[in-house]
């Protein structure tokens, strides 16, 4: 069996496009997921029973079913839902790439919610009390005192989750969106060079993720805040 890694260098522009999409999807899903995840966490911790039950239900649902199935839900059913919502005659075609973005934001929100919830709960109750005692409202206490500390404490975990997200984006393959893995797969099948392409993809992911995780470990050591 002869290996021809030339196929990699020949397809670099196309692979790069896929890689850019992977990075974009990761970044958007991480930021969006963190934003909605924090809101979900506040919802789960709310004393209003209906809100905490709703938030918990959403998070538990997203965490109980495979990401592949969630992707299918959104990909196959979102056009119909949008048709009903906008009153159009035919289901609007949004395309796999955009569907993936929405899906990942909503999926990751559940995971970021649990991380932020742990972070918020790890802040001693005395901090909440002293913020209230000064006259800060709930919103001000959260925004100025609790969330900054919770976020800072959870940065290593949040970053690790982002690295996991970076790997999970490869699953857009199942809805035929073209990310880095998808691009490599298309070249592999077109040129019959599965071994070279998949090995290349594996090596790239390995190098990137390993380097990033070492970075996170270093960061963790540096930001151990003296309380």
């Amino acid at each position: 069996m002869t290996l021809d890694f030339d196929v990699v260098s020949r397809s670099l522009p196309y692979l790069w496009k896929g890689f850019v999409y992977t990075v974009e999807l990761t970044a958007i899903a991480a930021v969006g997921g963190l934003f909605f995840g924090t809101l979900l966490a506040l919802g789960r911790l709310s004393p209003m029973k209906w809100l905490s039950t709703l938030a918990a239900g959403y998070v538990n649902l997203m965490r109980s079913i495979p990401l592949v199935l969630v992707l299918f839900w959104f990909f196959f059913l979102m056009p119909q839902v949008l048709q009903v919502m906008t009153g159009a005659d035919r289901p609007p075609q949004i395309g796999a790439e955009r569907t993936a973005i929405i899906t990942f934001i909503m999926f990751e929100a559940a995971y970021f919610c649990e991380i932020m919830r742990a972070g918020i709960q790890s802040i001693p109750r005395g901090q909440v009390h002293s913020a209230y005692a000064l006259g800060l409202t709930y919103g001000q206490s959260m925004r100025l005192v609790i969330l900054p500390q919770a976020f800072r404490n959870m940065i290593p975990v949040l970053l690790t989750q982002t690295i996991i997200l970076f790997q999970d984006t490869s699953l857009v393959y199942v809805i035929s969106a073209t990310d880095f893995t998808g691009a490599a797969s298309k070249i592999a099948q077109r040129d019959g060079r599965l071994v070279e392409m998949y090995l290349f993809v594996a090596i790239v992911y390995f190098v990137l993720c390993y380097t990033l995780s070492i970075g996170v470990k270093r960061l963790q050591k540096k930001i151990a805040v003296i309380r």
Binding site: L67, F72, L77, T181, L199, L208, Y210, S213
Partner: protein
């Protein structure tokens, strides 16, 4: 709104089987892959996790390398490597794959892939569990004259496994969810069958609802089983980890 028709489960697909039966066959494949992979993951993961806690720097490095290898490559890519790439490097394997029923080849690849991927995660849990035990435990074992393997077998591992039952439970649930990725190499597990049903009947909502409910049910069942195990093996008067 959507025209939901819950009776389609009992209609026949183009292949002749009822959709409900196809989904059922998908469930069996999901459970089969998950169980076989779980065994591999537990055995290999426990071994790797244990050697990472020894004093031997080489063993520790091998263990760490194992974990890093499987952690930093997406599961989908690993699945492709097992199914498309590894047979190319092992001619006997390739011959078997070519001759065998495709479903068997897919099953084998999926089991090995999921098993080893999860073993790395379990290795992490086992390592953490052992290291959370106080040094005194290891010392006490040595002090009465036990050899190192004996210390692990009789003192450290029994407690470590009890401590890590909760994270182990969530790894098990992850494993079951991850089995769905095998559909990318053609294994007709549950998610595959539900999409197939949707594509034939255009009743995606019903199909995916069924899959969703089934996954939730499987997760709850797995949770129950682990809770029973945890209760059975609990040491009286000892709150795990404290």
């Amino acid at each position: 709104m959507f025209n939901l028709d819950w009776s389609i489960f009992f209609q026949d697909s183009p292949g002749g089987d009822r959709y409900a039966d196809l989904l059922l066959s998908g469930i069996w494949w999901t459970l089969g892959v998950s169980f076989a992979a779980w065994i591999i993951a537990m055995v290999v993961g426990s071994l790797v996790g244990t050697i990472r806690t020894t004093q031997n720097p080489w063993l520790v490095r091998i263990g760490n390398a194992w974990v890093e290898l499987f952690r930093n490559v997406p599961l989908l890519v690993q699945m492709f490597l097992w199914y498309f790439v590894i047979p190319e490097f092992l001619p006997p394997l390739k011959r078997w794959v070519v001759a065998a029923d495709p479903a068997h080849a897919q099953f084998l690849s999926a089991v090995l892939c999921l098993g080893l991927f999860t073993s790395a995660r379990i290795a992490e849990q086992v390592r953490a569990g052992i290291q959370s035990l106080s040094r005194g435990q290891r010392n006490a074992g040595m002090a009465v004259g036990l050899t190192q393997p004996q210390v692990y077998r009789y003192v450290l591992l029994p407690m470590a496994f009890r401590i890590i039952i909760p994270p182990l439970t969530s790894e098990t649930m992850n494993l079951i969810k991850n089995s769905s990725i095998a559909l990318t190499i053609g294994l007709a597990e549950l998610t595959f069958r539900s999409r197939e049903m949707g594509e034939y009947t255009f009743h995606f909502f019903e199909a995916f609802s069924a899959a969703t409910v089934i996954y939730i049910a499987i997760a709850m069942a797995a949770n129950r089983v682990m809770a029973v195990i945890e209760r059975r093996v609990a040491v009286p008067g000892y709150i795990a980890g404290k």
